[in-house]
């Protein structure tokens, strides 16, 4: 019995270690090749012959063709602004759906679910025309508006969370004379740290990850590119030989803050998802 137990344990350890290695290999090679001194994307050997910091230096100084620092700043500005707006939208709408009763509530919730099923950038093309009609294309403001614009449709995770907060709290506060607005700001929000953090995290990360929306809106306005668009430019056919290692360096620089953020906030992510959406 003891032996069998140990055997399963060893098997599980072996399996987990093997999987962990598989999962880390691409990341490992990404980091290694960001320090490679020789240019080129397709090389005939696994490990670099010489190592250098030069790719990172080039990333931040060689701004003639690829203005990475500027793109980094753009992305930061866009993600902070759209994160603020989307968090506000999501919390407001999901609280209203969860706690308040008003005419048309069910119809609106249903409409939200249905709208969410259209492929995102089917609307994207039309959004481009709308932005063009009001003269906002190729600007960072347009990106912020677009990223936060449909945020309200993803209300169900936060709504699920609000549903779990006992109604008795609201009732007690109402008896004490609190208005609904006071209840929202003073009672519900302070109790909802996991879902607030989850929403902030998700909407902050979106601009770093998104590629298509940004490419449809920005077209060829390099000044206002986000990092995702910029890095993609580095590995187009004309540039990939010279810039592949710089691309790797850029990818590492982008990934580090996001990864750190995510690792620290992991707990809230799990609480957000499992506490919200999945309880239905």
């Amino acid at each position: 019995m003891r032996l069998r137990k140990n055997l399963t344990r060893i098997l599980i350890y072996a399996l987990l270690t093997a999987l962990a290695v598989i999962w880390l290999i691409p990341i490992f090679f990404l980091i290694v090749h960001s320090f490679r001194a020789e240019p080129g994307a397709a090389i005939r050997y696994l490990f670099p012959k010489t190592y250098t910091w030069n790719n990172y230096v080039r990333l931040f100084t060689d701004t003639e063709l690829f203005n990475f620092p500027r793109w980094y700043l753009n992305t930061l500005v866009v993600s902070v602004a759209s994160c603020f707006l989307s968090t506000l939208y999501v919390l407001m709408i999901s609280y209203a759906f969860s706690r308040l009763r008003f005419r048309g509530r069910n119809a609106m919730m249903r409409a939200g679910l249905i709208l969410n099923m259209f492929p995102g950038f089917m609307a994207m093309i039309a959004v481009y025309f709308i932005l063009k009609a009001v003269g906002l294309t190729q600007s960072l403001l347009a990106l912020v508006l677009v990223y936060s614009g449909s945020a309200a449709l993803t209300y169900y995770v936060a709504k699920g969370f609000f549903d779990t907060i006992p109604l008795a709290l609201d009732e007690a506060a109402t008896i004490d004379g609190a208005s609904k607005s006071t209840i929202f700001w003073r009672i519900t929000l302070p109790l909802s740290k996991p879902i607030v953090v989850y929403t902030v995290l998700m909407s902050f990360m979106a601009p770093w990850m998104d590629f298509i929306f940004a490419s449809v809106i920005m077209k060829d306005n390099y000044e206002n590119y986000t990092v995702a668009l910029g890095l993609f430019q580095m590995i187009t056919r004309e540039n990939i030989y010279d810039y592949f290692t710089v691309f790797c360096a850029g990818a590492v620089v982008v990934a580090i803050p996001i990864a750190l953020l995510f690792l620290f906030m992991q707990k809230y992510y799990v609480e957000g998802v499992t506490g919200g959406a999945v309880k239905g």
Partner: protein, 498 residues
Amino acid sequence: MADLDYLASSGPRRAWIRFTRSVKSLPGRVGGWIGGLPRRLGGMFRSLLGAVISVGLIFIRGDWATRLSFGIMGFGCLRRGRIGRGLIYLFTQIAFWYFFFTFGVGWLALMPTLGKVAQGEVWNEEKGIFEYARGDNSMLVLLYGIVTLIIILLYVCIYFSSIRVCYDAECRARRAERIPTLGDEIAALRDRDFHKTLLFLPVLAVVIFTVLPLIFMISLSFTNYDRFHMPPGNLFTWVGWENFRAIFGLGGNALLGNTFRSILSWTLVWAFFATVTNYALGMILAIFINHRGIRFKKFFRTVFVTTIAIPQFVSLMFMRNLLADNGLVNVFLTQMGWVDAPIRFLTDGNIARITVILVNMWVGIPYSMLITTGILLNIPADLYEASRIDGAGPVKQFTTITLPYVLFVTTPYLITQFVGNINNFNVIWLLTGGGPMTGEYYQGGRTDLLVTWLYRITTGEQNYKLASVIGIITFAVCAAFSLIVYSRSGSAKEGKFL
């Protein structure tokens, strides 16, 4: 099968019975939903009619001030001392009619044809020269036409509610009740009407950035907007259902119909495998990590979560390079002498399809691992305790406690994953770009999903009419699947979800 038989059967068998039952009842449920449509539409129509009639009754019952409010919005309010609200209504009316006559009516008039005059040179008889004339821009006609229609709809709603409010003020005056002032109403926005405050901004954003664009795109699918009909140089116009017929292969272009069918079926196959592999393997991984007696739980979890934290476009674009014909993976394989010729991970149709599913596992398993972990930790420990005393082994515990619990809690997650995978643009586009391209498809590749096909058709060929048809069909597929699941799950019946 009788209920007693069901209760007597074992756990896996029960699951199988439930599964077959739900599959068998599928057509019935879909049929039921469609059958219920007329009733629901009828209900909507009746409530609309009711609203019109009740406003009509107000005209009969109300006094002269209320009746005058039908012509001058908010007059009744002004008369009863609700100055603030009355002025707002009056201003709305003036603003609307100003907008309508200076802007709206012109675009609306062009809506049926989407513009008659193409941009171009026009012969000027008097001067005897060709003059450059700005024609109609079909795209703007359609866009502004829709905007005008939405604003008219909004105005009608405000108009009706203004009449009710005026009548309400009259009734209160007759009963000598206090009539709320504008200050009262603003105060109510923080309490009784707090939902209006909360909903205003998000709904406005959704209307501008989702609803309006969607109506626009849906309208485009009934036009002939493509690169041959590109405003402002050319006009496009309504063509009815022609594009829908074309994509089903009825429009004379058999290639298009075939491509659509192939890509649709691959999209469904992909979504199925991508969802199931991620879900099942993620669950197994979570169970292993949380297995009793396994240490370094946190370390293993962190390793897998790191891959979530790296932006997808970074890891996917890097993977594309690793897996290229002359990429590092093939270099490694040939150096080890395991293969003679490089494996064409991304350039051979069938291999590429397997590759994208495998890479998607790399991307997705950590997510489902993380979520399952959260659920596993929530299962009450005494359940396991009790079952162990009753003599249940680990396998039995898994099939009777863990699996049902996790499945129950994650059903909505599963369906969102499935729908998300149908629309999974990133993995396919950044990895293979939909390729390898093939001549057997119309502008398509072997790993193209409907969404990536849509994207290529819009950005490359600028075939907007076709793209919007594909978008609508993608929506229909997603909606059908969600509808089936949501209408089944218990939460739907409580009105929580749909």
